[in-house]
C-alpha cells in the first residue's frame, strides 16, 4: 500500500513538472515578460537592467527552477491584461468555479446513480426506455446549447430564474459563497444543471450496464435463494459491486467538470476561473493561461490520486491483492 502510494505520488509530481515546463516555456518565450512592467518611454538600457534584475538573462534551466519555486509559493507574475497579480485574480474567482463544480457533480451523482439503478433493474419498463433515449440525445447536445435552451425557457419565457451571474454572495474570509442567500442558490440552479447533465447521462448509462451485468451473476441468485429482501440484494449486493467503475469515471469526470465549466461560465457570465481563462485566451494573457494550466493539472493529479485511494476503501479484493503482492516484494 505505502509503495503504491509513493509510486503514484512520484508519477503525479512528474506530470506536474512536465506541465510546469510547458507553462514555463509559454510564460518565458511567448510574448515578452517585461512588456507589462515598462512604459513607452523606458529606455533600452533600463529595459536591459530590468531583465538583468528579474533574472531573464540567466540560463534557461536556472530560470525554470526559479519558475517552479515561485509557482510552488503561488507566484505567477502579473497579468498582461490588468497588471494585477495572477494568483490574486485566480484566487478571487476560484470559489465561484468550485461551488459550481461541486453542485454540478452532486447533481450528476445523486440523480444519475438512482436513474442508472432503476434502468438497470427494470430495463424493459417504458420509463427506462425513455430515459435511455433521452440520455442519448443528452450526450449529443453540446453543453452551451443546453445552457442556451435552459436560459430561453426558464429566464426568457418563464422568467423564474436568473440567466447570468452568481446572485448575492456572502464573504467567508477570502472565500465568497453563494450558498447562503436565496438569490445565490437560485443562480446556481441553471448553471449546475447545464454543467452536470453530460456527467449525469454518463453515470446513468454506466451504472445501468454494470447493474445489468451484476444482476446476472451467481452470487445475486444465491442471495435470492437465501431469501434476502429485494432491497438488500439491489443495494447491498448489486449496487456495491458496480461502484468501482462508477467511482473511477465520476472522479475523472470531476476534472472534466472543471474544464467544461469554461463553457458553462461563459454562457451564464459566471464570474469563475473558466471565464477568466477564456478572456485570457482572447487577449493572449500568457501568465494567466500558464497559471490556469498548472492549477488544472494540479486538480487532475489530486483527483486521480484520491480516486486510486478510494478503490482501496471500496474494493476489498484490491486490499488483499496488494497485501500479497507487497508480501512477495519483501
Amino acid at each position: 500500500m505505502t509503495a503504491f502510494v509513493l509510486r503514484r505520488l512520484a508519477q503525479s509530481i512528474a506530470v506536474l513538472l512536465a506541465v510546469g515546463l510547458v507553462a514555463f516555456l509559454l510564460f518565458r518565450y511567448v510574448g515578452d515578460p517585461i512588456s507589462g512592467m515598462v512604459g513607452q518611454d523606458t529606455s533600452l538600457q533600463e529595459r536591459e537592467e530590468l531583465r538583468q534584475r528579474l533574472g531573464l538573462n540567466d540560463p534557461a534551466p536556472l530560470q525554470f527552477a526559479r519558475f517552479v519555486g515561485n509557482a510552488a509559493q503561488g507566484w505567477f507574475g502579473l497579468s498582461y491584461r490588468t497588471s494585477e497579480p495572477v494568483s490574486r485574480m485566480i484566487l478571487e474567482r476560484m470559489p465561484a468555479t468550485l461551488e459550481l463544480a461541486l453542485v454540478a457533480a452532486l447533481f450528476a451523482v445523486l440523480v444519475g446513480v438512482p436513474m442508472g439503478v432503476w434502468t438497470g433493474l427494470y430495463p424493459r419498463h417504458w420509463s427506462s426506455r425513455l430515459l435511455q433515449a433521452v440520455s442519448l440525445i443528452g450526450v449529443s447536445l453540446p453543453t452551451f446549447l443546453i445552457g442556451i435552451l435552459l436560459i430561453l425557457v426558464f429566464a426568457v419565457i418563464l422568467g423564474v430564474l436568473p440567466s447570468f451571474g452568481r446572485g448575492d454572495t456572502v464573504q467567508l474570509g477570502w472565500w465568497t459563497s453563494g450558498f447562503f442567500t436565496l438569490s445565490g442558490l437560485k443562480a446556481l440552479i441553471l448553471p449546475s444543471i447545464t454543467l452536470g447533465l453530460f456527467q449525469l447521462t454518463l453515470i446513468m448509462r454506466l451504472v445501468r450496464s454494470e447493474m445489468l451485468e451484476v444482476m446476472r451473476t451467481d452470487y445475486i441468485k444465491f442471495a435470492r435463494a437465501r431469501g434476502l429482501t429485494n432491497r438488500a440484494i439491489n443495494f447491498g449486493h448489486a449496487l456495491k459491486n458496480t461502484l468501482v467503475p462508477v467511482i473511477t469515471i465520476t472522479g475523472l469526470q470531476l476534472g472534466a467538470i472543471i474544464a467544461f465549466s469554461i463553457v458553462t461560465e461563459t454562457v451564464f457570465s459566471w464570474p469563475g476561473m473558466g471565464q477568466l481563462f477564456v478572456q485570457s485566451v482572447q487577449f493572449a494573457d500568457i501568465p494567466v493561461m500558464a497559471a490556469y494550466l498548472l492549477l488544472v493539472a494540479l486538480f487532475f493529479v489530486l483527483i486521480n490520486l484520491v480516486v486510486d485511494l478510494l478503490y482501496y476503501a471500496v474494493d476489498p479484493r484490491l486490499r488483499s491483492g496488494a497485501a500479497t503482492a507487497g508480501a512477495r516484494g519483501h
Binding site: V15, A18, V19, L26, V30, G31, L136, I137, V139, S140, L141, P142, T143, F144, L145, I148, L149, I151, L152, A155, V156, S163, G255, A256, A259, F260, I262, V263, T266, V267, F277, V278, S280, V281, Q282, F283, A284, I286, M289, L293, V296, A297, F300, V301
Partner: protein
C-alpha cells in the same frame, strides 16, 4: 473484379446486412447525406448570400420565421437576424464551414497520430518513451482545454488582425493537435504486434527501408481501428469547433460557422429573438447526433468480436 461483381459482393456482405437491418442507422445516413449536400451546395441552393453586405437590407432585419409572426415572409423561411441576414442561408454556409473544419481537423489529427504512432512503435526505445509520455501528459487535459491553449498561444505569437485571416487554419491545427493521442496509441499498439510477424521480417530481409516497411506493409494492417476512431472523432471535432467558436476564440463573425452563429444569436437571446439561435443549434445537434450514430454503428459492425 468487375463493377457488377463488386456490387454483387457488396450486396452480399455482412456490413451491408447490418446496415440494412438497422432503421436508426439508415436514418442517420440519410440525415447526414442531406446535411452534407445542403451544406456543400450552399452557393447554389441557398436562397440568399448572407455574407455579401451588398445584398443585405436593414428593412428585412429581425423577421420571425414563417408561421411565427405577422411580418414573417416566405423569402426568409427561418427568419432574419438583426442585420437582415437570412437565417436559413447563414446556416447552410455555416454548416459547410463547420464540416470543412471538422473533416480537416480529423484528417490532420489522424495523419499526425498515425505518423507518431508508427515511429513510436517501430523505432521503440527513447523515441517511443518520449512520444508516449507526451501523450500521457496531454491526456491529463480534456481536448477542449488543449485546443483553447493552442489558440491562445497563437494569438500571443501573431497580431490580432492577422489572426482573423488565418483563424480557420489555427482552429484546424488546434483541434488536430488536441486529438492525435488516441490514434498514436492505437497505431503504436498494433505496430508492436505486427512488427514481429513474418511478413515484416521478410520485408526487412529483402532490404526495404524502414519508412517503406512502415508505410507500405505495416500501415495497411493497422488502418481498420484508425478509421473507426476517425468516424467517432469527427462528431467530437465538429463539437469542439462549435464550442471554440461559441467562446469567441474560433472562427470570426465575418466568416461564421455554426458555433459562431449560435454565439451571435445568444448575444441577442434576451430580447426574445429565439430563432437566430435555435435553428443553428438544432442543425448542430442533429448533425452531431447523426454522425455519432454512424460512428457507433461502424465501430460495432467492424468489430469481429461482436458478430
Amino acid at each position: 473484379m468487375s463493377l457488377a461483381e463488386f456490387a454483387r459482393r457488396a450486396a452480399d456482405s455482412d456490413i451491408w446486412y447490418s446496415f440494412r437491418s438497422s432503421p436508426v442507422v439508415v436514418w442517420a445516413t440519410g440525415v447526414t447525406l442531406f446535411i452534407l449536400l445542403a451544406a456543400f451546395l450552399s452557393p447554389v441552393l441557398a436562397p440568399h448570400t448572407p455574407f455579401d453586405p451588398a445584398t443585405l437590407n436593414l428593412m428585412d432585419a429581425l423577421k420571425p420565421p414563417v408561421f411565427f409572426g405577422d411580418d414573417a415572409d416566405w423569402t426568409f423561411p427561418l427568419g432574419t437576424d438583426e442585420q437582415g441576414r437570412d437565417v436559413l442561408s447563414s446556416i447552410m454556409y455555416g454548416t459547410r464551414l463547420s464540416l470543412v473544419v471538422g473533416f480537416a481537423a480529423t484528417a490532420f489529427a489522424m495523419v499526425l497520430g498515425i505518423a507518431l504512432g508508427l515511429v513510436s512503435g517501430y523505432v521503440g526505445g527513447a523515441v517511443d518513451a518520449f512520444i508516449m509520455r507526451l501523450a500521457d501528459v496531454q491526456l491529463t487535459f480534456p481536448a477542449l482545454l488543449v485546443a483553447l491553449l493552442i489558440d491562445g498561444v497563437v494569438r500571443g505569437l501573431i497580431s490580432v488582425q492577422r489572426h482573423d485571416e488565418i483563424a480557420i487554419y489555427v482552429i484546424v491545427g488546434a483541434i488536430g493537435l488536441s486529438f492525435w493521442v488516441q490514434y498514436a496509441r492505437t497505431v503504436r499498439g498494433s505496430v508492436l504486434v505486427e512488427k514481429n510477424k513474418e511478413y515484416v521480417q521478410a520485408a526487412r530481409v529483402i532490404g526495404l527501408s524502414p519508412v517503406l516497411i512502415m508505410v507500405r506493409h505495416v500501415l495497411p494492417n493497422v488502418m481498420g481501428p484508425v478509421l473507426v476512431i476517425a468516424t467517432i472523432n469527427l462528431g467530437l471535432a465538429i463539437l469542439t469547433e462549435a464550442t471554440l467558436s461559441f467562446l469567441g476564440v474560433g472562427l470570426p463573425s465575418t466568416e461564421p460557422s455554426l458555433g459562431t452563429l449560435i454565439r451571435l444569436g445568444n448575444d441577442v437571446l434576451l430580447s426574445g429573438t429565439w430563432w437566430i439561435v435555435i435553428f443553428p443549434g438544432i442543425t448542430l445537434a442533429v448533425l452531431v447526433l447523426a454522425v455519432n450514430l454512424l460512428g457507433d454503428w461502424l465501430r460495432d459492425a467492424l468489430n469481429p468480436k461482436l458478430r
